[in-house]
């Protein structure tokens, strides 16, 4: 009984301390806001800008590792102080980070949505606080674009579609069955690329390419090898004439699965997305027939360019002006151009 009283007393103490702190904080809040306003005025005069970059990955992923340095370099060039977070593709964590960012009252927020479907409350909060939000890498849902100042990055759906167009072109008048390896289940980019690929196959070469099975590879080479191996067993190796993977790491895993069965990948029509350090040599060797180039440096750099435009008034809320969308060029890479300077792999 005594213990429980002490427990409640401790809790009460914490509550009182919290409320006291809250009271102090409330008193200081007006001062903080006015200081922020002054900072904001100073920034428009050419000083530094404070920007939060809410990303779902960072140095823990190959793409993030090469996305960050150009982003930071561009930010330094434009006088932007970046505070970068990494939610590890956890939508709840990113939402909490967004609350923290809004509370910090920065001049702008760069947002790479971990999950496009769960991001609207964050956009509403930033909008209510008058903080411009620029979306990078993966766009928000169409109904949420009105709450953003713009988007720079890939056309994820278009990348899937471009990979499918290559597949249809390589197949020609023949008919084959393929297996499909998708990205992380539920992830916006994975969903868009998957839909782009499937819908383009269905519209461009429905009689020539049949998707026999699909599995997530979670953007991971090892998991993709297992997924591909299981699909080959499930549908029968003899029925498979090709493979599509949503990125080069996963296609490398899938190709390893073919090799483990004693199959020569060069005999199969395989396409992917990325043209990474892993994928480019596979294109050169002929094991990967085609991939879609994606530049992480362009992506990181233009995220900063976008928020700078938003903060300086070059683009406004919504997507009404041409400057509000910057699509990354996504050329296809095949055996004919794998060593061209404009498609040199970056990640």
């Amino acid at each position: 009984m005594r213990n429980s009283r002490i427990g409640l007393a401790t809790a009460s103490l914490i509550a009182v301390a919290g409320l006291t702190l809250s009271g102090c904080a409330a008193a200081d809040e007006t001062e903080a806001v006015s200081t922020d306003s002054a900072a904001s005025t100073a920034t428009t005069a050419g000083d530094t800008y404070e920007v939060y970059a809410l990303l779902p990955q960072g140095n823990d992923q190959p793409y993030g590792t090469t996305y960050l340095p150009p982003m930071e370099a561009k930010a330094a060039e434009l006088g932007i102080n970046l505070t970068i977070t990494n939610s590890e593709y956890d939508g709840d964590k990113q939402a909490s980070e967004c609350e923290v960012a809004v509370a910090a009252q920065p001049d702008g927020i760069i947002l790479w949505p971990a999950l496009a479907d769960t991001i609207r409350p964050c956009l509403e909060a930033a909008n209510a606080a008058g903080i411009p939000v620029w979306i990078t890498n993966a766009d928000v849902n169409p109904e949420d674009t009105e709450l953003t100042y713009g988007y720079s990055g890939t056309d994820s759906y278009g990348q899937g579609a471009a990979s499918a167009e290559m597949m249809c072109e390589f197949v020609g008048d023949n008919s084959i069955g393929i297996i499909q390896i998708n990205g992380l289940t539920g992830n916006s980019v994975a969903t868009l690329r998957g839909n782009g690929f499937k819908e383009t196959i269905a519209s461009t070469c429905p009689d020539n390419v049949e998707i026999l099975a699909e599995q997530p590879g979670n953007w991971n080479k090892d998991e993709s090898q297992i997924a591909a191996s299981e699909m080959l067993t499930a549908v029968g190796v003899e029925n498979v004439g090709g493979m599509y993977a949503a990125d080069d790491s996963m296609v490398a895993g899938g190709i390893d699965a073919f090799k483990a069965r004693g199959l020569d990948p060069k005999d199969y029509i395989i396409t992917s997305i990325g043209n990474t350090f892993l994928g480019n040599p596979l294109v050169a060797s002929g094991e990967l027939m085609g991939t879609v180039f994606q530049s992480s440096s362009w992506d990181g750099e233009n995220a900063v360019v976008g928020i700078y435009r938003a903060m300086t008034g070059d683009t406004s809320l919504g997507r009404d002006d041409d400057a509000s969308v910057l699509y990354m060029p996504n050329p296809t890479v095949t055996i004919d151009n794998w060593d061209a300077a404009d498609v040199t792999p970056e990640w």
């Binding site: 429980s4 904080a25 140095n59 909490s96 479907d117």
Partner: protein
């Protein structure tokens, strides 16, 4: 003339400091309180915005703490529930699939109770180790969430209701924070004032003795897992409402954070020792630390180093571990002295 014989074990402390010392020795939250004090002082100097933006900090504490509170009920009995994150995700998906918000919340909570019931059945009746049983449930529930959601986030039909739910309700406090406070008070009263709750400590401390004392051990295990499942599904419903959509991959960082909060708060993983207050303290320390690290832009790997070190500090400074270490040092020294003589 009659004489009274009494046996006194140990020395009775009557002074204030003596009683305080005894009280502190009995409590398990000491390390958590010390850690929280250090975190609050450091953060106050380095990132005072954590306190200025206190509604955000409270929201983060509630995010980590709610699942941890439910988990504590199981940990006190020496059991584990690894399925909480999957329960959170599945209940969120079920809720978002139902257009009516109220019905959706009820369905989500029902999912948590059913999951708790299955976990308890596997542990108490079938006799499977709780680590293995709930690990199996972790995968099964995650898979079920993916199947039901068609492997994609499920948007709520009424997103306005969700956005309204995320707004402050009482002063600066959002419904999430208020629910967390209510859950804390309810569980604290249950564990400290209600007989069934107090028996959790007996079940965790010495299960055979609990059986011998006539405590319905299996019923208590059912109660513990029901609480854990219910609270996890409550967190899932809150997350879905606040985000206006359910994510079948949700909760990927919840499981470890919840365990960390409970351990930092002094809860003993083998059961029998710990408290709900301790979990609150652990969640507060972790939440404040995470908000401060986010505000300062510290990268996730470095954040993980901080949290890992704190966890290690919490475990290695456990009085039982310290006594064991001191005992080992003493016996080594005595051995050396003997060999010298």
């Amino acid at each position: 003339m009659s004489s009274t014989n009494s046996i006194q074990i140990g020395q009775q402390e009557t002074s204030f400091w003596g009683r305080l010392r005894l009280t502190l020795a009995r409590r398990t939250e000491g390390r958590g309180v010390a850690l929280l004090a250090v975190v609050l002082v450091v953060v106050a100097f380095t990132e005072p915005l954590v306190f200025t933006a206190y509604p955000v900090s409270l929201g983060r504490i509630a995010l980590i703490g709610l699942v941890a509170l439910g988990l504590t009920a199981v940990i006190l009995m020496g059991e584990l529930d690894l399925s909480v994150a999957s329960t959170l995700a599945l209940s969120g998906v079920v809720m978002a699939m139902i257009p009516d918000v109220a019905l959706g919340v009820i369905a989500a909570l029902a999912v948590g109770l059913v999951v708790g019931m299955i976990n308890a059945f596997l542990v108490a009746i079938v006799g499977i180790n709780s680590f293995i049983a709930t690990l199996g449930m972790l995968f099964a529930l995650r898979g079920l969430g993916f199947v039901l959601s068609n492997e994609a986030p499920v948007r709520m039909a009424n997103t306005d209701a969700g956005i309204a739910f995320g707004l402050p309700l009482l002063g600066p406090l959002t419904p999430r924070v208020l629910i967390f406070i209510v859950a804390f008070i309810a569980l604290q009263i249950f564990v400290s004032r209600v007989k069934a709750g107090r028996e959790f400590f007996a079940v965790g401390g010495n299960r055979q003795a609990a059986y011998d004392a006539g405590i319905p051990v299996k019923r208590r295990i059912f109660t513990g897992f029901l609480i854990s499942g219910f609270v996890a599904s409550l967190a899932g419903a809150i997350n879905t409402l606040e985000r206006t959509a359910a994510d079948p991959t949700a909760g990927s960082t919840v499981l470890l954070a919840s365990f960390a909060a409970a351990i930092i708060g002094g809860n003993y993983l083998k059961g029998g020792r710990g408290s709900i207050v301790g979990t609150l303290i652990g969640a507060t320390a972790l939440g404040v630390l995470q908000v401060a690290l986010t505000l300062t832009g510290v990268q996730v790997p470095v954040q993980q180093i901080f949290i890992g070190l704190i966890l290690l500090l919490a475990v290695t400074t456990d009085p039982a571990n310290l006594r064991a270490v001191l005992g080992s040092i003493r016996s080594v020294r005595q051995g050396r002295l003997k060999s010298q003589t």
